[in-house]
Amino acid sequence: MRLKKQPLLKAIWPQFFFHKHNVHLNSFYTISNYRRIWFVCIGILGASSLVPLVLATMIHYQLIQQSVDSELMLRAERLTSNAKRSVAFFIDERLDALTFTVNEMGYQNLSDNRKLKDISNNLKFGFGGITDLSVIDADGRQIAYAGPFDLEGKNYKNQPWFTQSLKTINFVSNVFTGYRDAPHIIIAVRSRTPDGSYFILRATLDIERLMQMLLSYKSSIHTDIFLINHQGVLQTPSTNFGNIFSNTPLIIPGFSTRTMVKKTTEDWDGTKTIIMGYSYISTEMADTPFILIVRKQKEGVMRAWLDLGRTFNWIIGISGVIIVIIITLLSSFMVNLLYTADEIKARTVLQMEQNCQLASIGQLAAGVAHEINNPLALISETAGYVKDLYIFGAEPKDEAEIIEHIDSILEAVERCGTITSQLLGFVRQFDIKIKKINLAQMLDNVLSFHTKEAEYRNIHVTTSLPDLPLFIETDSGKLQQILVNLVNNAFQAVETDGCLDIFVSMIKSETIEIVIKDTGCGISTENLEKIHEPFFSTKKEKMGTGLGLSITYSLVKKLQGNISVESTLGVGTIFTITLPVKIQRGNLA
């Protein structure tokens, strides 16, 4: 069973999309392209509702991004600064302790292994983080050592850190393994022996202590905090780049005394946005080879924010789709209403035009009936009389009289025949489309139906045409209807003894002018503006439909012509029609 379409469904179903082309109906539609209106409707409504929504969303998204970024950068900067201060303080404090020890104890005490051990214990106790202490002379020989490793008597002459430490008062090394084969940092303070040569008090720092310190700053798994040296080698383990001494793919940031933060995008392990804070670590006592790096993964840190943003995007997206659907349905509904109204209007006007055509045929029929009924009555009476002659036998059957009667019957029959053939020719015009017409002939045809009326009412009808036959190529049915309507109108307007003059002339090589002038009642100025409006009639009491002139106007337009009217009340009316000699076929409705 077929489901019956619901009214709502029917209302929003775009019927205009399936508009069937109907040659007769199309010219009566006010709007020709409903699809375009529909698209324009959806476009404008869609743009005006979606563009602000999308713009607002984009701006909102940008603002969130910016605030997230600035918040992240601020946090990274704070974290980097704090961690840098701690690391710098850790190293500085121990360099201070060594400097104090060198100045306080002097070379004699320090070069004594036993005393050095005491000092070492005191330093470990007082400061912590120191693994061992040693005193090395200018030639790299280890004079004294206090610590857990077996390093007594070692010579450091060829060690890079030793040659560097001789050049500065205070020295901080990279992390390296050295003789003890365990990662450590060396800090060293240079001083002079009583004989004036350099010696160095060296302490190795516990790397574990440093690592713990950095770890304490690590706020989440998305944050990586570590030290690298100026060559990019890891000095403490990193979550992202592996263990100590691993090379990092990081580009070494340019030197700055201040803590710096920058945003970068990395794509070696999936595309990530990284907020990276860095700081070159230097103390008041010495420069260090360390750079503190803090890396925060934006996606990780801001996951909650980004999830919210994504949810928001979904809501906006779904809202957009719903808006588009509603706009489409609403547009379909509105355009449907327009289309349906226009269709009803077009059908009504077509019906009106057909009715008007029928009405003019009806008017013709009335004229024809009159023209035919009179000869018929004559035939009836004459034939009846001839019959009477035989039935009543009242008068002698004079053959000449009978022939005279029969001739009068034949004459009447001929009159009827002429009229019917004229009518047939006339009616046939309604079916034929464009053809070449002799204008004089058509005018005679139209006027012939009014001959009798003109005779009775003593109306003087004159036609004035050029000497040469005037041909016009146009829709003959429409032209005929125009002439019938205007001549009918004129006949209705004029009183007995009035005049109807028709002038036809070529005004340009391609244009014909037909002027229909009557001495009828005329049209008042205010009515003159309304005569081509449908249903306007001053002949309401005489059964006027008010369609004649409005249809005439539309027919003239369809024949690509123009019509104008001048009228003076009580004097008469002049209708002037201009028509192209040859109609442009493409434009014909």
């Binding site: 009335a366 004229g367 009936a369 009159h370 023209e371 009924n373 009179n374 018929l376 009555a377 004559l378 035939i379 009836s380 009476e381 004459t382 009846g384 009389y385 009477d388 009543f392 009242a394 009068s408 009798k452 009326e453 005779e455 009775y456 003593n458 005489k542 059964m543």
Partner: protein, 127 residues
Amino acid sequence: MKHTDILIVDDEKKFAGMLSKRLTLRGVSCEVCYDGNSGLEWIKKYSQAVTMILLDLQLPDIYGTQVMAGIKEINPALPVVILTGHGTENDRKECMRLGAHDFANKPLSIDNIIEVLEQIKGNPGCD
């Protein structure tokens, strides 16, 4: 003047003549006028000596309804039968309003005309 049964007012001379001859053959006395004004003049003179008027509408001088109104002014009781080539519905209404006895389109059988005449004769006070 002797009594006339029917006065025919019609501009179709041949038709009026034929009808007149045929009616005469049937013992109906007839007079013919070919336009409205001469018809009215005749009636002014002999309104008491005629039984009925057979009147066409399309006349060369004045329209049939005007003739009709004129007749009714002269003698409102005089029966007028309209016989026209083509009478519109409006014409019919107008004539009946003015007091026509009957309204018929041409061609009309002569028997019908006589029938109407007999009817009028039978009921002289009908109008």
